[in-house]
């Protein structure tokens, strides 16, 4: 009969548990990543069995020759600004909900619901909602703001904000939930102590709530920065990238599957990855400083 010491057994268990996730990680993350980097150095079209090594030619093209390719990144800025507004709104709602007013559970659910909904469904609803004489226009006419209706999706000056609005509506609940969780961790007696000392609602937020949830807010800003670089579903489904609403991911997909330039698309994906990693590094630097302060 095979017997093992407690230490050997422990090792076997650890190895046993690690094998599966490591294998999955290798097959579905590490190997594709290596492939991606390799593709980005070739001129592969995605179908042909041959790919020629072209060195950094794809990167050169993106950065120096065909700058149209990077342009969609500017659209990310809109989403980033939107996400900051979204965070402010989420914090505002979270603070209110944290007061434990009657019915706050219902409100929390209502605000969180869009996040649970299927994003295709949400986007289709918004597409119709934002149409000329669609839901939004009808609503505005009903409340007497008929004079202010616009071509929400067709007007190139407005369309980006319309999409940002849809995106904020969809992701607000998620941020709300995270912020709300952070707020719950603040002991009530700190607020009571502050009330006795004469702190107003705003001062209570400024001196107690905000410092406590600041790390979480910072994390959310990082997440939304990454998120705004990677926006895809909402604009893809509502406008399909028309009217100057193409995002970087959409452009990448277009290069890969429409124009059959997988090599170039892979290079774009690597560039995006570098951006995201840069953001993460900055976040780490900022947070470590905050942690040791």
């Amino acid at each position: 009969m095979f017997t093992a010491t407690a230490q050997t057994q422990r090792r076997l268990v650890i190895i046993g548990f690690l094998v599966v996730p490591l294998m999955l990680l290798t097959v579905f993350s590490l190997y594709p990543f290596a492939q991606l980097v390799w593709f980005s150095l070739t001129d592969w079209d995605g179908i042909s069995p041959e790919k020629t090594f072209v060195g950094l030619a794809n990167y050169e093209r993106i950065f120096f020759e065909d700058q149209e390719l990077l342009r969609p990144l500017i659209n990310s800025l809109y989403y980033f600004i939107g996400s900051l507004m979204q965070l402010a709104l989420a914090t505002y709602f979270a603070v209110i909900l944290n007061r434990g007013l009657p019915g706050s559970n219902v409100y929390r659910m209502l605000l969180f619901m869009p996040f649970v909904l299927n994003s295709v469904a949400v986007s289709i609803i918004f597409r119709d909602f934002l149409q000329i004489e669609g839901g939004l226009d009808a609503l505005m006419v009903m409340i007497g703001l008929g004079a202010f209706t616009r071509e929400w999706v067709q007007d190139p000056e407005i369309v980006k904000w319309s999409l940002v609005f849809a995106s904020v509506w969809r992701y607000l609940g998620f941020q709300l939930l995270i912020t709300y969780g952070a707020l719950q961790a603040v002991p009530q007696d700190q607020y009571e102590a502050a009330r006795i000392e004469g702190a107003s609602e705003w001062q209570q937020f400024r001196f107690i709530t905000f410092p406590t949830i600041a790390p979480i807010l910072g994390l959310q800003i990082i997440l939304s920065t990454v998120g705004s670089l990677e926006v895809f579903d909402v604009p893809f489904l509502i406008t399909g990238g028309a009217n100057g609403t193409k995002t970087f991911i959409m452009a990448t997909l277009q290069e890969a599957f429409e124009f059959r330039r997988v090599g170039l698309a892979a290079a774009m994906a690597v560039i995006l990855l570098c951006f995201v990693m840069l953001v993460m590094v900055i976040q780490r630097a900022v947070f470590d400083r905050g942690g040791t302060k």
């Binding site: 002991p187 009571e192 102590a193 009330r195 006795i196 000392e197 702190a199």
Partner: protein, 361 residues
Amino acid sequence: MSGGLQIQNVTKSFGALTVLRDISIDLAPGEFLVLLGESGCGKSTLLRLISGLEEDHDGSILIGGKNVTHLDPKDRNIAMVFQSYALYPHMSVFDNIAFGLRIRRMSKAEIKAEVGRVADVLKLGDYLQRKPGQLSGGQRQRVAIGRAMVRDPQLFLFDEPLSNLDAKLRGEMRTEIKRIHHALNATIAYVTHDQVEAMTLADKIVLLNGGEIEQLGTPEELYMQPDTLFAARFIGTPEINTLACTITRDGDGYMAKIGEVTLPVPTHAARGAIADGTKAILAVRPEGLSVGVGEGFVTTDHSVELCEPMGSETYVVLNFNGEPVRLRAAGLVKLAAGSTQSITWDFKGAHLFHPNTGQHL
């Protein structure tokens, strides 16, 4: 009436549940009031009503002669020390103490001077730049007290401030609080469930039971002249001895018949006259009993149940017809469990209570 704290006919209910019933207390400026009682007796609720953190009650509350019943906590000119300290974890000790002054837009120089003064009194000078997380329990407690002191309020509220500390530190902080009370001549309302804290700190104790005042008086009054059996039992360690008995008149005094034993009880053990054959509870503090035969006193024989050595004294528990009887013997006394000892009774401080209502007879 000016100054101090007046609570007038305060009743508080949460829905159908009445947690405080018709509470009236009058506290002179500079007095130390302890709200004492078991958990759930309403003492913390009463403190929160005084602070204004809890609202919607009947009756009125006056602080410093001003009716504050409908005022916000910030307008009541009070300071409160919480059981959990409620320090702001991301602020330094200095900022914690200075918080209330900053809110009141005091100048930087003044804040520095005030915080320095408080830090001196509380011996916090070396810790001003630390965060609460880097302090010990006792130091945090001092910061919490400092935060209250710095604003020089009309009334200090303490909500079980020592219950998170270990026994030794609790003793030290008790002395500290007493010292601060004298140094500031502050008016204090202090909630605790610890009768030792109540006895040592209070000028006035309010003993609460089930949302009503069981007894209000000085520590001496509560100890020497308890109005009810509850009050008698709540205060004093070890607990007062209580024996069910039947009273008969006997010349100048009473005779208390407990099973086969008859004990002579002086008339002042009851506040009024008692009819023959009245059932009563005889209550005698442990210090009324001593081991051995005393000249001119009643003695009875009982078997020893256990001895608890405390160091300077020993608590002895004996069996009196199946009921425990506690007494204190000086020094370290060893009495074998089961052995029979003679006990001398001194009924000078004895009380008689009604067996059902618990009221003093």
